[in-house]
């Protein structure tokens, strides 16, 4: 019987379920303390802020901007790698024979465009093989005044019906749109990137043996309005320009038999690609620059007040930044800014945190001068929880150096419009007091 009673009490222990929470009738039947929210704009705790430029150069960017907008022109260009000039027709014989180019097919990827743009056109220009990272808009501009290698109306191609017969799909892997000039447009099913193919003959793509087949091209965009796109570059996987050379060669032992001619093709990616634009990025000043080419980032250091570290729970923290001027460009040129805390404050070379939950993001829209507010709540909560962390963060453009767009904010040097931190916090509840 004693054992049974032991079980009885064990079961009674197991039955200890609680429901102790009731709607509060305050203040008579609520605890003495209250959860109190404070909301404060700290206008002077963002200090020692500065900008640094040179993180990502135009030729390192994941895209190249092409634009023809009021006040801004931007032109991508690329230099193709060397092509073979001879082939070894017989595997058992080391004798080589020259190749003769029949034609070439150039593929460009339009990774960003404004769908409202009408009569969107692309024009190809041949550039000298000397193009490199020192090339600027002025030095390349004369070549864009020369003969057009080829041009295509992208809007027209997009308006055409898709060809999706089995033969086409077998060759192209998907349905295509084409025009009478042989341009082919394929829409990437994954990300809606436009893959644009130019068929070039030997006049448009002259094959120079002394130059090992190297060619340089520049791209110019035009439209009725909103002419602003991004061309994929070598830095993106699968979206960079590609030139596919189609060639023929003779097999000596079979001469002069008609079947002695063999055909082949080989693709070449650029050895260098970048873009130039006008006007160029303005030199650094006392403001905080984010974006541009080479990319600029701004470092903001936050002097967290001691009382925010102690007995405070941050529920919202917003960085307030006042733009110096509107960002020029088409609406599609709007870009994101990413705020990332630093791991160690080493100035411009501070390593950045990889904890994505502490990141903050905001979109910058072209043409507006509204105050920019970046919600950095998680970041500030992390700082408050761990006082060993440096209380500084970088602002950087998303897709750095792939566009001419840049925004500048007033820095702490401009007292009236300096960056501020808007913090909403809850003070510690007075536990233990009746």
């Amino acid at each position: 019987m004693t054992r049974r009673f032991a079980w009885l009490f064990l079961l009674a222990v197991a039955a200890c379920t609680e429901e102790a929470t009731a709607p509060g009738v305050c203040p008579d039947f609520c605890p003495g303390g209250q959860i109190v929210v404070h909301d404060t704009i700290f206008t002077d705790i963002i200090q020692r802020d500065s900008s640094f430029r040179g993180y990502v150069a135009g030729y390192q960017a994941i895209g190249a901007a092409a634009a023809d907008l009021p006040g801004v022109k931007s032109r991508p260009f690329f230099l193709l790698k060397a092509m073979i000039t001879r082939v070894q027709p017989l595997g058992t014989d080391t004798t080589t024979v020259p190749i003769a180019i029949d034609s070439a097919r150039l593929r460009l990827s339009i990774t960003r465009r404004d769908k409202k743009a009408t009569n969107l056109r692309l024009r190809l220009f041949q550039l000298p093989l000397t193009v490199d990272s020192t090339s600027d808009f002025a030095s390349l501009d004369p070549y864009f005044s020369g003969a057009v290698v080829d041009s295509v109306n992208v809007s027209d191609l997009l308006a055409r019906p898709a060809i999706g017969d089995s033969v086409t799909v077998r060759i192209w892997g998907d349905s295509i749109r084409t025009d009478s000039a042989g341009h082919v447009l394929k829409i990437s099913p994954g990300d809606s990137t436009l893959l644009l193919y130019f068929t070039l003959d030997t006049v448009q793509a002259p094959f120079s043996v002394p130059d090992s087949g190297k060619l340089a091209f520049g791209v110019e965009v035009a439209a009725d309005s909103l002419a602003s796109i991004t061309i994929g570059t070598n830095e993106t996987v699968g979206n960079g320009p590609v030139m596919r050379w189609f060639y023929r060669y003779s097999i000596p032992d079979t001469l002069p038999a008609p079947d002695s001619v063999a055909h082949g093709d080989l693709s070449r990616a650029p050895s260098f690609d970048s873009f130039v634009f006008n006007p160029p990025t303005a030199p650094p000043d006392s403001n905080l620059a984010v974006g541009g080419v080479p990319s600029a980032r701004s470092l903001l250091r936050v002097a967290i007040p001691a009382f925010l570290h102690d007995s405070i729970d941050i529920v919202r923290a917003t960085a307030i930044l006042v733009p110096v001027a509107a960002v020029p460009g088409a609406p599609i040129d709007s870009f994101g800014i990413l705020a990332r805390p630093v791991l160690t404050d080493l100035g411009g070379k501070s390593p950045l945190s990889a904890i994505t939950s502490d990141f903050a993001h905001v979109m910058i829209h072209t043409g507006f001068t509204d105050t920019v507010r970046i919600e950095i709540t998680n970041m500030v909560r992390t700082w408050v929880a761990d006082t060993t962390r440096p209380t500084a963060f970088f602002l950087g453009q998303v897709g750095e150096a792939s566009s001419f767009t840049e925004i500048r904010f007033y820095s702490s040097r401009t007292a009236a419009l300096r960056p501020a931190l808007h913090v909403t916090y809850v003070k510690r509840f007075p536990f233990g007091v009746p």
Partner: protein, 367 residues
């Protein structure tokens, strides 16, 4: 009723129904130090508390353990269902508690020592409020939840001595200690911009107390008890820092028990507690009780009634009225006793009425 169905009934009620039953807490205690516990065994509770001064397993007075002839232990548990009506806002709460444990045994023929714990102040409650506040110029709906889970316990070391065949003296030392886990949470309807704020801490309580009691058998069937107790301040510490100090009450009371033959006992008691110095919303209290125990020692029927005041409450002193009844059954040749009881309480104060049903289960073992 045989013992087996009795056990089955206990199981059914304790396990099956306890998910809808409530704690001994009270909303009246939220604005005070807590809800004072009842240092009573199931036997005492089912007689309205009237038998508590005479019951060795009720940790109310120390002298009562002088009747213990063999080392014995008694435990009390209670599962409660509580409905509250606060100015039209109603809620139903439940909980389970082990409010008392007493172990006692004789040192020699005259002296008995004992100890155990009982609930001194219950600090378990939860409050949810909804409101809309203006944040950054925008009305922001919020929900606040403040919960406290814990209690202040009274750890007692007691000794009782028979000074004379009709006179016994009891002394007790009380270590008042406990803690409560407290959480204050504010949730915002706009979860995209505002993070939930949750602050949690553990409040540690401590204090000391001393008690003395005297029991006089005026006749073989008439017994009087008087007791006195004084407690120090209750100190509340958070993270090692004292955040509050509140006076604890001086209390005293008296009781009388009349044995009307071998199978009937009638008791009554009066108690006063000086809580008024314990802070705002605290009141001195006076409580009374009367009860009876009928039947042979192996199978007892008990009932009782109690009334009085509550120590904490806004405005005028809240009042409490209770009715209780129960059964006691010995087993294993008197080496064990199972007590069952049911108690109904009604508490009334300014703006709040509480009604409580409590199922009580107690076990006393004498190995």
């Amino acid at each position: 009723m045989t013992l087996r169905p009795l056990v089955a009934l206990a199981l059914l009620i304790t396990v099956g129904v306890s998910s809808r039953l409530a704690a001994q807490d009270s909303q009246f205690g939220i604005r005070g130090l807590g809800t004072p516990g009842k240092p009573e065994s199931v036997r005492a509770r089912t007689t309205g508390g009237a038998f508590a001064p005479f019951d060795a397993f009720s940790p109310l007075v120390d002298v009562s353990i002088s009747d213990v002839r063999r080392t014995s232990a008694g435990v009390t548990s209670g599962a409660s269902w509580r409905s509250i009506d606060a100015s039209g806002s109603t809620a139903t709460l439940r909980g389970t508690r082990f409010p008392a444990l007493v172990i006692a045994g004789p040192v020699n023929r005259r002296v008995v020592i004992g100890g155990g714990f009982s609930t001194y102040l219950d600090r378990s409650f939860g409050v949810i409020t909804h409101d809309t506040i203006d944040l950054r110029g925008v009305p922001q709906p919020i929900t606040d939840e403040i919960t406290s889970d814990g209690a202040v316990s009274d750890l007692r070391l007691a000794a009782a001595a028979r000074l004379h065949s009709r006179l016994a003296l009891g002394l007790g030392f009380h270590l008042i200690t406990g803690s409560s886990r407290v959480i204050a949470t504010r949730r915002f309807a706009d979860t995209a911009n505002y993070r939930t704020s949750s602050t949690r801490d553990e409040v540690a309580y401590n204090g000391l107390g001393g008690s003395a009691s005297l029991m006089v058998d005026v006749r073989h069937d008439l017994r009087f008890v008087g007791w006195f107790r004084s407690d120090s301040k209750l100190r509340a510490d958070v993270n090692g820092r004292t955040v509050a100090e509140n006076d604890l009450p001086m209390s005293y009371g008296t009781g009388v028990l009349w044995r009307a033959g071998a199978q009937a006992g009638i008791a009554g008691s009066l108690a006063w507690q000086k809580w008024a110095g314990a802070g705002p919303n605290a009141h001195d209290t006076f409580n009374w009780s009367a009860g009876a125990e009928l039947g042979p020692a192996g199978a007892l029927l008990r009932f009782g009634v109690r009334g009085g005041q509550l120590a904490f409450g806004v405005g005028k002193t809240p009042t409490e009225v209770g009715y209780s009844a129960g059964l006691g059954r010995q087993f294993s040749g008197g080496r064990g006793r199972l007590d069952l009881g049911l108690e109904r309480l009604e508490r009334k104060g300014t703006g709040l009425t509480e009604r409580v049903w409590t199922f009580l289960l107690g076990l006393t073992v004498r190995p």
